[in-house]
């Protein structure tokens, strides 16, 4: 587990460094995610070499286990920031109701538009013959 966590932290660290160095509008952890993805792709491209070079926890599924363990409790990780937000709800005071209305309507519209577009394009591509 320590080795897997080290690899994950290393990816994040490199991501943060790249984010700072390139001024890209993407947070470091998201670049770290791309780097970890690259690692997984490369690892499985050359399974023989990876098996010899990399430590067992990184090839035998334990890395995947550690990552999924973290993701299973993603909800927990929003609690500290969320509790801080509760103390700052005063910033909503002036336009509270209007803001709440915008958030509600806009979020519902976005959810619906995104999912409907996904399904529509996916169906359209699935049945090219049925179109004519």
């Amino acid at each position: 587990m320590i080795l897997s966590l080290t690899l994950i932290l290393l990816a994040q660290l490199l991501g943060e460094a790249l984010a700072r160095a390139t001024d890209l509008p993407i947070p470091g952890p998201l670049i770290g995610m791309a780097l970890l993805l690259l690692f997984l792709v490369l690892r499985d491209r050359v399974p023989r070499l990876a098996g010899r070079v990399l430590a067992p926890p990184l090839v035998d599924g334990r890395l995947e286990g550690t990552g999924k363990g973290l993701l299973a409790h993603l909800s927990l990780m929003f609690v500290p920031a969320g509790a801080g937000i509760v103390g700052r709800l005063d910033v909503l005071a002036v336009h509270g109701i209007a803001l709440a209305l915008v958030v509600l309507v806009s979020t519902v519209t976005t959810l619906a538009a995104t999912a409907l577009t996904f399904v529509a394009v996916s169906r359209w591509l699935a049945k090219p013959k049925a179109r004519s």
């Binding site: 947070p27 550690t66 002036v94 959810l111 538009a113 999912a115 996904f118």
Partner: protein, 238 residues
């Protein structure tokens, strides 16, 4: 009595107490969510935040003191974001087959998120600087605060709105998709991640691993696209 008080004074200053309170609030919230068979309204993030905030309010604990303990949990958001690569890689075949619908949904979703917030904000007479804080509401907190600040909005207000959006999306995504009769887990997850960032992604992972993988992708790409589109969209504001 003074003895008990001394223990409290000591404990309330250590990270241990507030770390324990955070985990305890989450355990209780997760139990409630389980008891309701993960009903969308029993959102564990919302319940855990409400419980924690109530404890802080009752004990008159400053947020800075609380955060000394809670920071260990908060820190894990970074590694968890990196770990999104794992389900993404596991379902790579499904993901690669869905590139076209994903790209279309990303463009439509990102534009709708921005445009609907700006247009509604204007229609309701919200001042320009407040609308700017609304614009990046569907994007992960760090990026949203950055966008708001660059465009001349209040980053704290942006963070509060982002969290409200996450909660709204995390709670409403399941009932809304059921009403729209969308059963495709790829589409449901992608919408949750795009509209409600990490909180939506956390909800998606509770429902289904495929939904979670697609939510993670949407979260990442929407952060990038909104950072490009928001400055353009804001120029249309009066």
């Amino acid at each position: 009595m003074t003895g008990d008080f001394a223990v409290w004074v000591y404990l309330s200053r250590t990270p241990l107490l507030w770390l324990t309170v955070t985990l305890l609030a989450y355990v209780v919230a997760d139990r409630i969510a389980q008891a309701t068979r993960r009903h969308p309204l029993a959102n564990p993030v919302l319940i855990a935040i409400a419980l924690t905030a109530a404890v802080l309010e009752l004990t008159k604990t400053p947020y800075a003191t609380y955060f000394e303990g809670a920071q260990f949990v908060h820190f894990l958001l970074g590694p968890a974001t990196v770990a999104l690569a794992i389900p993404l890689y596991e379902y790579r075949a499904t993901v690669l087959r869905s590139l076209a619908p994903m790209l279309a949904a990303l463009l439509v979703g990102s534009v709708v998120a921005l445009a609907s917030a700006l247009l509604l904000g204007e229609a309701l007479g919200i001042p320009r600087d407040v609308i700017i804080a609304l614009a990046p509401k569907s994007v992960t907190t760090g990026v949203a605060m950055g966008i708001a600040q660059t465009l001349g909005g209040d980053p704290t207000l942006a963070a509060v709105i982002v969290m409200l959006t996450g909660m709204t999306g995390g709670i409403l995504v399941t009932p809304l998709m059921n009403v729209l009769r969308i059963r495709d887990m790829r589409a449901r997850g992608f919408a949750a991640g795009l509209a409600a960032h990490g909180v939506g992604t956390a909800r998606a992972f509770q429902v289904n691993d495929v939904a979670g993988a697609f939510a993670g992708i949407a979260l990442g790409f929407n952060a990038f696209l909104t950072a490009i589109l928001a400055p353009i969209a804001v120029t249309f504001l009066r």
